[in-house]
């Protein structure tokens, strides 16, 4: 046996808390068996979670790096691994490796800027890490706007945190929307791209978008129309991954590997790549 570090070999993690966010999203709190955080990460980075025998998959780390105690993953039920995870209980062990990918440039490009976060559905998961990071170092950033939309009220992930914490922070404005009218909902109704247009943001902001591909596409179009430059807009991508380290050849878009060169891309970088995502 040798002691060479091997990035494909994971470490153990334990699920210490399972929170039901929406009918198909749960948030899992993960620590190592001795109760520590598995590794440090930066906002926007991902980790490979696996259940041996079921499979391994890449998830963005939803908790902020400033949380020194544990990591959180908000996971939507949609495939083999996620189905299994949704059945898991507290105390279930899993394997974890990472962190992978290029994070959001929170300490350089974002510093001092007004930030506009736009998320749709489970797309809030990767952004939550950045939002909480920015809230933690509030004085480093300007105004923060958060636009978040989902299919219905029940599908809004992290609703409690949004209402109880985010909306109460100074200098943070939260704009929520749902796709269709619903009883008990007093907020805005409509799709995210059109809501963004309605809100008519000034273009002095750096925007971070995440959500279903179709939402990203239309929101980006709306923002360009509003006068934003592609250089001001960041997004985060997802493709099938196996290794997480840019070797297995699965997540290429052109010469870029989403797992290594992404998942965070600035939109002008993205438009340089072939349209294959």
């Amino acid at each position: 046996m040798n002691n060479r570090a091997e990035t494909l070999i994971p470490v153990l993690g334990v699920i210490t808390d399972v929170r039901i966010d929406t009918p198909d999203v749960k948030t899992f709190r993960v620590v190592t068996p001795d109760g520590k955080k598995a590794f440090d990460h930066k906002p926007g980075q991902c980790a490979m979670l696996s259940i041996p025998g079921v499979g391994e998959a890449m998830f963005s780390i939803t908790s902020s790096p400033t949380n020194q105690e544990y990591m959180e993953f908000s996971i939507k039920k949609c495939g083999c691994v996620t189905d299994w995870l949704h059945q898991a209980e507290e105390g279930q062990q899993l394997t974890i490796r990472g962190p992978y990918g290029r994070p959001f440039p929170v300490d350089d490009e974002f510093a001092g800027k007004n930030l506009l976060f736009i998320a749709g559905g489970i797309g809030l998961a990767p952004l939550r890490s950045v939002i909480n990071y920015c809230r933690h170092y509030r004085d480093r950033y300007g105004e923060i706007d958060i636009v978040y939309g989902s299919r219905s009220m029940d599908d809004l992930v992290d609703y409690n945190e949004i209402i109880d914490e985010w909306t109460k922070d100074t200098g943070i404005r939260v704009h929520l929307t749902i796709d269709r009218e619903q009883e008990g909902w007093n907020g805005h109704v409509g799709f995210v791209p059109s809501y963004v247009k309605e809100l008519d943001f000034s273009t002095d902001k750096t925007a971070i978008i995440c959500g279903p591909p179709i939402m990203i596409k239309f929101t980006l179009d709306a923002m360009i129309e509003m006068g934003f430059a592609k250089e001001q807009v960041y997004t985060t991508m997802e493709l099938r991954m196996k290794c997480g380290v840019g070797k297995c050849g699965r997540c290429n878009i052109g010469s870029k590997y989403v797992c290594k060169d992404g998942p965070v891309f600035r939109c002008d970088e993205l438009s340089e790549l072939p349209d294959e995502y």
Partner: protein, 342 residues
């Protein structure tokens, strides 16, 4: 430079296999050649290329990565790696030697793939210069000189002798172990052979294949070419080209439940397979045209973009002779790049 009579080839193999496992090309009993562990009775086959490339030695077709034991909610992770032992591979052609460089840039770049790195450290490559290239050979297109095959020890085989010239420290170390059965010599025979081979190379049908249209920065120009659809129209979507290719490096990681635990293994995968990029939410490459394009764009544009212009093809010609429908990188290059001869 040292040499040994071809009559004593077996004693050379015997001597090397005393200190490490030696693999030599031998018949696969089906008209092809396969690297076979040298033992008494294994006969060296002077072949141009083996069917499966020697990348298998460093990046095996399948390998177990780790094992898990499951009990209730608990998991045990077992590192089942074993320090590999020294081994030597004889008869690797110049093109295949170059393919190791291409694979190195993937597996040895940060973060290093230690499974690959360990085997790479333990392997000694004894190359062999080509004397009778095939019509399917086009290694010179990628700047490879098949008469100077490199590796850890370069070798040339003439009618009567095998000439050996160490290239690396590893090669020198191995040479010192076989010094007593080889004799010092000058390189006149080798030079004569090189001239002869170069003359043949200049007559090969694919010698003028050009890479001018490809390389870093050509994505925009080539990606939307209408020719991809035409080129890929009869592609079966099998993995033959990928699996015989010495530079294809895509892999899959899969779990196998043994009943008493779970083995996580890695195996070759092919971007030509329909479910290669399939996710729970859909597949970004739905048609064979897109998958076909990915394979060639990767070799001719994406890889060079990330690796100082180095193409991820060595012109070994395996895909030319093995593709069930005879569609291959040469036809792609000629179609997209314009044929010099036309």
């Amino acid at each position: 430079m040292r040499r040994i009579s071809l009559y004593s080839l077996d004693s050379l193999f015997g001597e090397i296999s005393k200190s490490m496992t030696l693999y030599i090309p031998a018949s696969d009993n089906a008209g092809g050649a396969v690297y076979t562990k040298y033992e008494d009775g294994v006969e060296y086959l002077n072949t141009l290329n083996t069917v499966k490339s020697p990348k298998n030695f460093f990046f095996p077709h399948t390998e177990d990565l780790m094992e898990f034991k499951l009990q209730g909610k608990n998991i045990d992770i077992l590192d089942i790696r074993q320090e590999s032992e020294d081994f030597a591979v004889f008869g690797v052609r110049g093109c295949d030697v170059k393919s190791f460089d291409i694979l190195d840039r993937v597996f040895l770049s940060d973060p290093v793939d230690s499974y690959y790195a360990t085997r790479r450290e333990h392997g000694v490559i004894i190359s062999l210069a080509c004397t009778k290239p095939s019509e399917t050979c086009f290694c010179t297109t990628f700047g490879i000189d098949p008469t100077e095959p490199m590796g850890d020890i370069s070798a040339w085989m003439t009618e009567s002798h095998l000439y050996l010239q160490p290239v690396t420290e590893k090669g020198k170390a191995l040479m010192s172990k076989i010094e007593h059965i080889t004799e010092a010599c000058d390189d006149s025979e080798v030079l004569a052979q090189k001239d002869k081979t170069k003359n043949i190379l200049s007559k090969l049908p694919l010698k003028d294949l050009s890479t001018d249209a490809f390389g870093s920065g050509k994505t925009k120009e080539l990606f939307d070419s209408p020719q991809w659809a035409e080129l890929s129209q009869s592609c079966l979507g099998c993995g033959t080209c990928t699996f015989v290719c010495p530079t294809c490096q895509c892999y899959d990681i899969k779990d196998f439940n043994t009943g008493s635990g779970v083995i996580r293994y890695r195996c070759w995968d092919s971007c030509m397979f329909s479910e290669f990029t399939k996710m729970a939410h859909g597949n970004p490459r739905l048609t064979q045209t897109e998958r076909f394009r990915q394979r060639f764009m990767h070799k001719l544009v994406y890889y060079p973009e990330n690796n100082d212009g180095l193409f991820s093809c060595v012109g070994c010609g395996r895909c030319l002779s093995k593709c069930p429908i005879s569609m291959n990188i040469v036809k792609v290059m000629k179609s997209l790049g314009g044929d010099k001869n036309e």
